[in-house]
Amino acid sequence: VSEAARRAQSLDDAIAVASRAPSTEEAFATLVAALRARRFEHVCFSLVTDHPALALSAAFALLGTCPSDWVERYRATGLVQTDPLWRRLYEAEHAVEYRPLSGTAATAAARAAFTAWGELGCRSAVVVPLRSSGGALAALIATSPSDRSLDPAELCAASLLSVHFHGLYLQRRAAPAPAEVALTDAERQVLIWSARGKTKKEIAIVLGTSPHTVDYHQRKLLKKLAVSSVAAAVARAIALRLLLQ
């Protein structure tokens, strides 16, 4: 293989191409092309949890190459909940291989899932967890018609291509930035320690100040965030992305 041909198939190149795509749909098309060049077949991008930051609810196969009647059947038969693939995804630190045809399915739900993926001609798949702030989880699934085990480097390549697409997706789809709330250092400290479950008295000890002062900063914090309790302030701060978790 010539150096130029190798470069054209490299991740560096695929990423540059995806970055230039004018829309998320076109960026997704470049992801599909890059994965197909690596012998994957179907590609399916799903929001596994709600994505409040994007103002989007959980959705299976939000983008993908799977036939729409297949997607509808998958949804209608409840596999969105019961497919063992989703459990694997939650547990996975990074891309994992899912082999619907290997071994015996333990439960009826697993058998139904394996049958569904079989209909797509999928003999193995790479499942990539895509996590974002606020606990949101998305997934990219790329199927392979081949029975052989995926090469670790190919698994990583599929993973990084997906991570890059996910970043572009989040960037382009992000809901308008929430209103700016500027906190003082004292207010931020009170917020951080409250989120860890500390009481006013405890926070005063940690910060070396009086409970009265903590109370003062806390009241100002509630006012700035327009909420009525410390729990609501923490929730609001998470939603506004102000908080150190």
Partner: protein, 246 residues
């Protein structure tokens, strides 16, 4: 060894998969990031990585200047560092000097970034890395020389190399125990949701049409399961564990 000239990310995947130790892996990470112009790196675990038996720690590995690290700890900067705060909330790589972010900084935080630059950490970027069950890590990367052009391509390369580093880092540690996912009951979810709206237990009982005693019961169970002292901390923990989205 794989020859230079072959594309960087592909090359780093191959190298990272062949590393047998954390030291070897960090050397490879440094080399790859160095090609992008980032010769100063730090890797931090922002949350406990329970299943790997690792606790949250600033700078598990890195090559930031030693005098800066000492000054940083002595000044109590870990709690105030805006880069650490942005890592929590960012969904991708970010420049420390991004004007859109800097507007919200406090005086001390702005000062901290100036001091970092003076200490030889110029054109810094932060990269959030997320694992299962709310695990969060972060990479800081900077240049001792400066004058880097932080183009989207450079940022994307840095992000993917850091991502691959984190995957390889965790693989080398290998999971020591299973952590089962926390699935909240409908009642527990309701309690959290309404608490996030600022409702008291009495108000939540009225909204759900159950007794105050029932709300108390679900609340106690929730705190026990999440191992936290109160509802405020429960909200935080639930979001961290991926059991609740806000």
């Amino acid at each position: 060894l794989i020859a230079k000239g072959f594309p960087l990310i592909d090359r780093f995947i191959e190298v990272s998969l062949s590393c047998k130790s954390q030291d070897e892996l960090f050397v490879a990470f440094r080399a790859a990031m160095g090609e992008l112009g980032f010769d100063r790196l730090i890797v931090s675990l922002m949350t406990d990585h329970t299943r790997f038996g690792l606790n949250a720690q600033h700078g598990i590995v890195g090559n930031y200047p030693a005098d800066w690290m000492q000054f940083y700890v002595a000044s109590g900067y870990e709690e105030l560092d805006p880069v650490r705060q942005w890592v929590v909330t960012a969904d991708g790589p970010f420049a420390w000097r991004d004007p859109a972010r800097n507007g919200l900084l406090s005086r001390i935080q702005r000062n901290l970034l100036h001091e970092a630059e003076d200490a030889g950490l110029k054109d810094g970027v932060g990269i959030p890395l997320r694992g299962a069950h709310g695990a969060l890590a972060g990479v800081g990367a900077a240049s001792s020389v400066g004058r880097l052009s932080l183009t989207p391509t450079i940022m994307a390369h840095a992000q993917l190399i850091a991502h691959q580093y984190y995957a390889a880092y965790l693989t080398l540690h290998s999971a020591k125990r299973r952590v089962s996912p926390v699935l909240l009951s409908t009642h527990e979810r309701e309690v959290l949701k309404w608490s996030a709206e600022g409702k008291s237990k009495r108000e939540i009982a009225a909204i759900l049409g159950v007794s105050r005693h029932t709300v108390d019961y679900h609340c106690r169970r929730l705190l026990e399961r999440l191992d936290v002292p109160n509802v405020t901390a429960a909200l935080m923990r639930a979001v961290q564990m991926g059991a609740l989205q806000l």
